[in-house]
C-alpha cells in the first residue's frame, strides 16, 4: 500500500452517479482499542486466574520472522527442543496468535508490518523481543533504517537478550512469559490501549509516511 491508495478518489457508480471514496474512512474501522475490565481490577478474579492459566499453557505464536533471530525459532519445533510440549504452537495468522516474537533488528519497513500484525492479534496478546537489537538497537544502533528500542513502539512483555540468543534462551523467555501471564502481568494489550496515543506518536514519528489507519483491526 502506498500513500496514493489512501488518497480520496472518485469513481462512477452503476447509475452514473459520482461516488467519492475516502479509503481510510470507508475501508478501515477507525475505532481505537480500549482497556479491558480485567486490567482495571487490582486482584484478578478466580476465573481470570483460570483463564490466565489457560492462556499461558496455550501460547500460539505468530509464525513470523522479522530479522535474523528467526533462525533461532525454527529449532524449537525440532525434536531437540520440542516447544510443543509446553503448549506452544505456531499459527500462520495473527488472528489466531497470542504471542508476537520480534526476532531481531526491526527495519522501518518491517516495523510497519509488525505493528499491523500486532494490532490484528486478539487480546490478550504478548510481545517477546528476541535479541539485543530489540532492546537497544544492538549492532544496528546507529542505522538509518532500524529502530533501537522496541518498547517505544509496542508493549514488550519479555526481552531475551543476546546476539543471537540460543533456542534455550528463547525457551527460557517463554517460561518467563508463562509466569508473567499466570501472575496476571501479561497485560501488554491493555497497556497499548491505555497509552495508545503515546505509542502511535512514537510510531508515526519514526515512520515518516503513515499510510494506514491508526489502529489496524
Amino acid at each position: 500500500m502506498s500513500m496514493d491508495d489512501i488518497k480520496k478518489r472518485k469513481t462512477v457508480g452503476p447509475d452514473g452517479d459520482t461516488i467519492e471514496i475516502d479509503p481510510l474512512q470507508d475501508y478501515y474501522c477507525s475505532a481505537v482499542p480500549s482497556v479491558s475490565k480485567e486490567y482495571q481490577r487490582e486482584i484478578p478474579t478466580i476465573i481470570e486466574r483460570f483463564r490466565n492459566w489457560a492462556r499461558s499453557e496455550s501460547l500460539w505464536i505468530l509464525a513470523y520472522g522479522s530479522g535474523c533471530g528467526a533462525i533461532e525459532m525454527r529449532p524449537l519445533m525440532t525434536p531437540k527442543y520440542d516447544a510443543y510440549r509446553y503448549g506452544i504452537q505456531w499459527r500462520p495468522t495473527p488472528r489466531q496468535s497470542n504471542v508476537l516474537i520480534v526476532s531481531g533488528y526491526l527495519s522501518l519497513k518491517t516495523l510497519r508490518i509488525v505493528i499491523r500484525a500486532y494490532e490484528q492479534m486478539p487480546s490478550p496478546k504478548f510481545v517477546l523481543g528476541l535479541g539485543s537489537c530489540t532492546i537497544n538497537g544492538g549492532m544496528y544502533y546507529d542505522s538509518y533504517n532500524t529502530i533501537n528500542r522496541l518498547d517505544h513502539y509496542l508493549p514488550v512483555d519479555v526481552y531475551v537478550a543476546g546476539c543471537m540468543p540460543r533456542p534455550e534462551a528463547l525457551l527460557d523467555g517463554f517460561d518467563l512469559l508463562k509466569k508473567l501471564i499466570k501472575e496476571g502481568k501479561g497485560q501488554g494489550a491493555d497497556l497499548y490501549a491505555e497509552k495508545f496515543t503515546w505509542y502511535k506518536a512514537n510510531q508515526k514519528k519514526i515512520l515518516k509516511t503513515w499510510d494506514m489507519p491508526d489502529y489496524s483491526w
Binding site: M1, S2, D5, R9, T11, V12, G13, P14, D17, I19, I21, P23, D26, Y27, Y28, C29, A31, Y64, T93, P94, R95, R112, I113, V114, R116, A117, Q120, D211, M212, S216, W217
Partner: protein
C-alpha cells in the same frame, strides 16, 4: 348467388384490356392513368371478392350454394371455343392476385408515374394476364396468357433501369422463350393426340394412354414446372426477384407464383400418377435445394428470391401429393399460398423501402417499428408459426403425408422448412439487433406503407380464418389472443398500467381456469407454475419506468401459449400453444442487449424441435386416426420414431444435453424478469410436454426400453454437464442458465425412470425449481440490472448493501443444493430411494454427483456477489427494486412452508401419481414420509436443526464477548494492507484448479458438433450455389438440361 351481369369474370379481361388500350390516349405525367389503374384493379378485386364471398357462403349454407361458373367466349360451347371457369379455387386465387395487383399498383404509384401511361397499361395487363391464367380452361389460351404475363414482367423488370435489371430481364426472356418453346410443343402434341385444346376434354381423352400423349404431357408438365422455377434450373428467376423493382418482385412472388401454380394444377389431371410423382420430386428438390442455397445468401432481395422459389417447391410437393391429400389439398395449398404470397409481398415491399440490400442493412427497419412488426409477421408466417395460415397448412400436410406413410417426404419438407427458418431468423435477428445508426431511415410514404400493412392484417385474418375452419381447431378459444391484441393496442400507455391490466387479465384467467382443472392435479400443478409464475413475473414488472414498448403483448403471448398447452383438447391445439409460446419467448429473450446470436439459436432449436414434434404427432395421429390427445397413447405407427421425435422436440425446450447450446446465452442475456419467465416457467413447458408424451407412451411396450434408457442418460448427463459448466461461468446469469440445464436434467432423469418416485422427483423438482430459481433469477437479475453487469467479478460485498437479497439467495441456494433442512433435500432423498428401488445405479450416480457439483457454482455465486470485498463503485448501491423483492419473498415463503410440510406437496402429487404408477409410493404420517427403503421427516428435521442452531447461537451469546465491527480492509493480508477492493476480491476464474482437473468435461463438444454441422451445410450451399454463374446462357443450358434429364429419368422410370 353472384350476379353474372355485374360480376362476370370475363369483365376482368374485358375491362383490363379496354383500360389498357384506352391508356394509349394518355401521355406521361398525368394522373389519370394511375387513377384508372387503381380503379381497374379495384374492380378486379370486387369481382373476385363477390365470387369468393359466394363460395365461402357455400360452405355454410347449402341452399345458397354457388356452383363453379363457366364463361363461354364467342358464344360457343367448349371445346370448340375457349371457356373460362370461376370456381372456388379460381375465386380465391384471382382474389389474391387482384388484391396484390391493387396494392402492388398503389405501391408502384410513383415508379409508374415516372414511366408514364404505357407502363401503367403494362401493369394492368400483367394483372389481367394472371387472372387469365387462373380462369382459362384452354391450354393454348393458357399459353397465351402465360406469355402475356412473361412479357409484361419482362417489361416491368426494367422500370428500374440498371445494368443488373437489364441483364436479369434478358435472362428472364431467354428462359421464358425456351419454356414457351417446350410448352408449345407440348400443346400441339397434346392437340394432336387428344384432338382438343380444352383441358376438360383433354382429361377425358386419356392422354397417358397414347404413346405420344405421354410425351405431350411431359412437355406440358415440364414447361409449366419450369415456369415454377424448379431448382436448379432457376437462376434466371432469382435474378428477376433480385433485380426487378421491389414492387414488381412483390407481385411476382405473391401473384405470379400462385398463377403459375394453378396452371400446373389445371394441367396435371391430364396426366397419370407418374406426373404427380415428378412434380412432387421436383418440388422436394426445389424446396430443399433452394433453401439450402439460401443459407449463404447475404443480400435481402435475392434471399427472398431463394425463399420464394423454395415455397413454390413446397406447393409443388403438395400438388404432387394431391391423391394422398385428397380433399384437404386445397386447404393446405391455400394456407401455403396465402402465407407465402402475403408474406413475400410484404417482404419485397419492405425491401423496396430500404436503400441498401445487405441483410444487415435491414436493421434500418427498426427506425419504423411498424415495418419491423410487418417483417416479423412475415418471417413467422413463412416458417409456419401460428396464427398464420401456413401453420395450419403445414400441420395438415405433415399429418396427411405421414398418414399416407410418406415419411421421407415429410422429413424433407420439414428439413427444408428448417433451413428456411435458419436464414429467415438470422435475417430477422439482424433487423432486430444490428447496429443501425449509419443506415438511412426507410423511405415509407403512405402509399408504400399501406400495401404491406393491409397484407399484414390479411395475414393475421387469413390465419384466423384458416384455423376456424380446420377440424380440431374450430372450438379454439380466441379470448386470450383478443386480450393480447388489446394489450398491443394500448401499447402506448405507461408500463404500470399495462402491467396492472396484464395481471388482472392473467388472474381472471386463473379464476376462470381453475374449475375446469379441478381434479386434474397434474395440469393444475403446471397451470400453477405457468400462471402463478406469470402473475409473479408481472408483479416484478412494476419496477420498469416508462413504456416498455412491446413487452406486454409478447409476454402475454407466451403465457397464452402456456395456457393453451394446459387446456389443449387435441394435438393441434397443443402444438398451437407450443408454437405460440415459442414466439412469445423468442421475442422476450431477444430483448437483452447482446442476446441476438442466442435468441437466434434458441429459435433454431425451437423450430427444429417443433418440427420433430410435429412429425411425431403426425405419426401418432396416423396410428390413432384422430388428433385427440389420446392419440399419444399407444402409438402404432413407427412408435419408436414417433415417441423419440416427440421427446426430442420437448427436450429442445428443456435444453437437455446435445440440444442445450442455445440456453446459456439466451437466458444469460435476458433481462431479470424475463429470465425468470424463461427459466423458471418456460422450461417447465418442456417438462409438461415430456410428461404428456411419456404418459402416453407408458413403459410396457418393447420400444420404450431403449427410449427411456437414452432419455435417462440424457437427463443424467445434462445434470452433470449443466452443473459443471455452471461452475466455470463468470456471468451470474449464465451460471444460472447452466444451472437450469442441470436442474432440468434431474427432471428428465426422473421422468425417464417411469416410476412413481421418479415422477415424484420430476414434479416436485418442477415446483421447487420454479420456487428457488424464481428467487435466484429475480434477485440476480435485479442485481445485474441495477449494477449494469452480470459479471460476478465486478460485484462483491453486496451483502452490506443488499441484505434482503442476500437472505433470499441464501435460502434459495440451500434449497437448490438439497441441503437439509429445506425442501430441496426431499428431492435428493427421493432420488436415493429411486435409484436403489429402480436399480438405475449408473445414471443415478451421475445425477447424484451432479448434485454435489452444484455446491461449487452456488457457493461461487453467493460468494463472489454478496461476500468478499465491496467495490468502490458499488458503495452506494441500494437494495434491488421492491417489485423484485415482493415476488421473491412470496416464493421464499412458499419454500419455507414446503420445508416444514413437504407432505403438502409430495403427498397429493404422490396420490395423483399412484394413478399411473401404483408401486413404490411414499407413505405419509404427518410430515414423516416412509418408503420401502428409508424415511424422512421434513418437519422434524426443521425443528431439530433449528433447535440446534438456536442452542448453538445462545451458547455463543452466553460467552458475552466484546465485538468490534470492522470494515472490509481490516483483514490479515500478510502484514500488508489491501490497496483496492478489486485486488483483494478472489472471484475471477474461481475454480481454476477444478477446471485444470476436469475441464476436459466442459469442452464445447456439442457446440462444436452443431458448428460443424452448420459449417457443412453452409459449405455445401456455397459450393452448389456456384451453379448460378450469372450467365444467361448457362441458365438456358440448365433449362434444357433439366428437361432432358427429367425426360430420360421419367422414361427410365416408366
Amino acid at each position: 348467388m353472384v350476379d353474372q351481369l355485374f360480376f362476370n369474370p370475363i369483365y376482368i379481361i374485358g375491362i383490363g384490356l379496354a383500360a389498357a388500350f384506352f391508356l394509349g390516349f394518355f401521355h406521361r405525367g398525368t394522373l389519370a392513368p394511375r387513377i384508372i389503374m387503381v380503379a381497374v384493379t379495384a374492380a378486379f378485386t370486387i369481382i373476385s371478392l363477390a365470387w369468393m364471398q359466394a363460395f365461402l357462403l357455400q360452405g355454410q349454407t347449402a341452399e345458397h350454394g354457388q356452383a363453379a361458373a363457366q364463361v363461354f367466349t364467342a358464344g360457343f360451347q367448349p371445346p370448340f371455343s375457349i371457356n373460362l371457369r370461376m370456381g372456388a379455387e379460381e375465386a380465391f386465387l384471382t382474389l389474391l392476385i387482384n388484391i396484390s395487383g391493387l396494392l402492388g399498383g398503389i405501391y408502384l404509384l410513383d415508379t409508374l408515374k415516372k414511366m408514364g401511361s404505357h407502363a401503367v397499361s403494362v401493369f394492368i395487363i400483367l394483372i389481367m394476364g394472371m387472372n387469365g391464367i387462373i380462369m382459362t380452361r384452354d391450354i393454348f389460351n393458357l399459353f397465351v396468357f402465360m406469355e402475356i404475363v412473361s412479357i409484361a414482367v419482362a417489361g416491368l423488370i426494367v422500370l428500374q433501369k440498371e445494368t443488373n435489371s437489364l441483364a436479369a430481364g434478358f435472362k428472364y426472356m431467354i428462359a421464358a422463350g425456351i419454356i414457351s418453346v417446350f410448352l408449345l410443343l407440348g400443346i400441339i402434341l397434346a392437340y394432336a393426340v387428344g384432338g382438343s385444346l380444352n383441358i376438360d376434354f383433354l382429361t377425358a381423352a386419356d392422354l397417358p394412354g397414347a404413346k405420344a400423349g405421354m410425351i405431350a404431357l411431359f412437355f406440358l408438365v415440364i414447361a409449366l414446372l419450369l415456369e415454377l422455377k424448379p431448382f436448379p434450373a432457376n437462376g434466371w428467376a432469382l435474378d428477376v426477384y433480385d433485380a426487378a423493382p421491389a414492387g414488381v418482385s412483390a407481385i411476382l412472388a405473391a401473384a405470379g407464383s400462385a398463377a403459375a401454380y394453378y396452371a400446373l394444377v389445371k394441367i396435371l389431371p391430364l396426366g397419370s400418377s407418374s406426373h404427380y410423382t415428378l412434380v412432387a420430386a421436383a418440388g422436394a428438390v426445389t424446396f430443399l435445394g433452394s433453401n439450402l442455397l439460401g443459407l449463404k445468401q447475404h443480400r435481402g432481395r435475392r434471399l427472398l428470391g431463394y425463399s420464394s422459389v423454395g415455397q413454390v417447391g413446397l406447393l409443388l410437393i403438395i400438388l404432387g401429393f394431391s391423391e394422398v391429400l385428397g380433399a384437404q389439398r386445397d386447404y393446405i395449398a391455400a394456407g401455403i399460398i396465402l402465407s407465402h404470397s402475403l408474406a413475400k409481398a410484404i417482404l419485397f415491399w419492405l425491401a423496396g423501402m430500404l436503400k441498401q440490400d445487405g441483410l444487415e442493412a435491414w436493421a434500418a427497419l427498426r427506425k419504423k417499428p411498424i415495418l419491423l412488426i410487418l417483417f416479423g409477421s412475415a418471417v413467422f408466417a413463412l416458417v409456419g408459426f401460428p396464427p398464420f395460415p401456413s401453420f395450419f397448412a403445414k400441420w395438415e400436410l405433415i399429418l396427411l403425408l405421414n398418414g399416407g406413410r410418406f415419411y421421407l417426404w415429410s422429413a424433407v419438407i420439414l428439413g427444408a422448412s428448417f433451413l428456411e427458418a435458419v436464414y429467415l431468423f438470422r435475417w430477422f435477428g439482424y433487423a432486430l439487433k444490428m447496429d443501425n445508426e449509419k443506415l438511412a431511415e426507410p423511405e415509407a410514404p403512405l402509399f408504400r406503407l399501406l400495401p404491406p400493412i393491409v397484407f399484414g392484417i390479411l395475414l393475421y385474418g387469413a390465419g384466423w380464418y384458416m384455423g376456424s375452419i380446420l377440424e380440431g381447431f374450430a372450438n379454439f378459444s380466441y379470448i386470450p389472443l383478443a386480450f393480447i391484441l388489446f394489450l398491443a393496442l394500448i401499447d402506448r400507455l405507461p408500463a404500470w398500467i399495462k402491467n396492472t391490466v396484464s395481471i388482472a387479465g392473467v388472474t381472471f384467467y386463473i379464476i376462470d381456469l381453475y374449475p375446469r382443472l379441478e381434479g386434474d392435479l397434474l395440469r393444475l400443478i403446471f397451470a400453477g407454475i405457468f400462471l402463478i409464475g406469470a402473475v409473479l413475473t408481472l408483479l416484478s414488472g412494476y419496477y420498469y419506468k416508462g413504456r416498455r414498448a412491446g413487452f406486454y403483448p409478447l409476454a402475454l403471448t407466451m403465457f397464452a401459449g402456456l395456457a393453451v398447452l394446459i387446456e389443449a383438447a387435441n394435438l393441434l391445439e397443443f402444438f398451437y400453444g407450443w408454437e405460440l409460446m415459442t414466439i412469445g419467448s423468442y421475442f422476450l429473450l431477444i430483448r437483452g442487449k447482446k442476446s441476438m446470436p442466442h435468441g437466434y439459436s434458441y429459435m433454431l432449436f425451437s423450430v427444429g424441435g417443433s418440427f420433430a414434434m410435429l412429425f411425431g404427432f403426425s405419426l401418432a395421429a396416423a396410428g390413432a386416426g384422430s388428433i385427440a390427445m389420446s392419440a399419444l397413447t399407444g402409438v402404432t405407427v413407427l412408435p419408436m420414431l414417433a415417441y423419440s421425435l416427440m421427446l426430442v422436440g420437448f427436450l429442445t425446450k428443456t435444453a437437455s444435453v446435445g440440444l442445450h447450446i442455445w440456453l446459456p446465452g439466451a437466458h444469460g442475456e435476458a433481462v431479470a424478469d424475463i429470465h425468470f419467465m424463461a427459466s423458471a416457467i418456460l422450461l417447465k413447458a418442456g417438462v409438461f410436454g415430456l410428461i404428456t408424451v411419456l404418459l402416453g407412451m407408458g413403459a410396457e411396450a418393447s420400444y420404450t426400453g431403449p427410449i427411456l434408457f437414452v432419455l435417462g442418460w440424457i437427463g443424467a448427463l445434462s445434470a452433470l454437464l449443466g452443473n459443471i459448466s455452471a461452475s466455470f461461468q463468470e456471468s451470474a446469469k449464465r451460471l444460472l442458465a447452466w444451472s437450469s440445464i442441470g436442474q432440468l436434467g434431474y427432471i428428465v432423469f426422473g421422468l425417464a425412470t417411469m416410476s412413481h418416485l421418479g415422477w415424484l422427483i420430476a414434479i416436485s423438482y418442477s415446483v421447487t425449481h420454479f420456487l428457488y430459481k424464481g428467487i435466484l433469477f429475480l434477485v440476480i437479475g435485479g442485481i445485474a440490472l441495477k449494477l449494469g453487469t452480470p459479471y460476478m467479478y465486478k460485484m462483491g460485498g453486496l451483502i452490506k448493501r443488499m441484505p434482503f437479497s442476500f437472505l433470499a439467495v441464501l435460502i434459495a441456494i440451500i434449497t437448490l443444493s438439497g441441503v437439509p433442512p429445506l425442501v430441496g433435500f426431499a428431492a435428493k432423498w427421493i432420488t436415493y430411494n429411486l435409484i436403489i428401488s429402480e436399480g438405475i445405479y449408473y445414471q443415478g450416480f451421475i445425477v447424484l454427483i451432479s448434485g454435489i457439483v452444484a455446491f461449487l457454482y452456488l457457493f461461487r455465486m453467493i460468494y463472489t456477489m454478496f461476500l468478499g470485498q465491496l467495490k468502490d463503485n458499488l458503495r452506494t448501491v441500494r437494495e434491488i427494486n421492491i417489485w423484485f423483492l415482493i415476488p421473491v419473498y412470496l416464493l421464499l415463503a412458499a419454500i419455507m412452508v414446503l420445508s416444514f410440510f413437504p407432505n403438502m406437496l409430495l403427498r397429493p402429487v404422490g396420490e395423483m401419481l399412484s394413478g399411473y404408477f401404483p408401486d413404490g409410493a411414499i407413505a405419509w404420517t404427518g410430515t414423516l414420509g416412509t418408503t420401502r427403503l428409508g424415511y424422512y421427516d421434513g418437519g422434524a428435521i426443521m425443528y431439530v436443526i433449528g433447535g440446534i442452531f438456536v442452542a448453538a447461537l445462545l451458547f455463543f451469546f452466553s460467552l458475552r464477548k466484546r465485538t468490534q465491527q470492522v470494515k472490509q480492509f481490516n483483514i490479515f493480508y500478510s502484514g500488508e494492507a489491501p490497496s483496492r477492493p478489486e485486488l483483494s476480491h478472489f472471484s475471477y476464474n474461481f475454480f481454476a484448479h477444478y477446471q485444470k482437473a476436469i475441464g476436459v468435461l466442459t469442452l464445447p463438444l456439442v457446440t462444436n458438433f452443431w458448428n460443424w454441422l452448420s459449417g457443412i451445410l453452409h459449405g455445401t450451399a456455397d459450393f452448389f450455389r456456384r451453379i448460378y454463374t450469372g450467365n444467361g446462357q448457362t441458365y438456358a443450358y440448365h433449362l434444357v438440361l433439366y428437361i432432358v434429364v427429367v425426360f430420360f429419368l421419367q422414361r427410365g422410370g416408366m
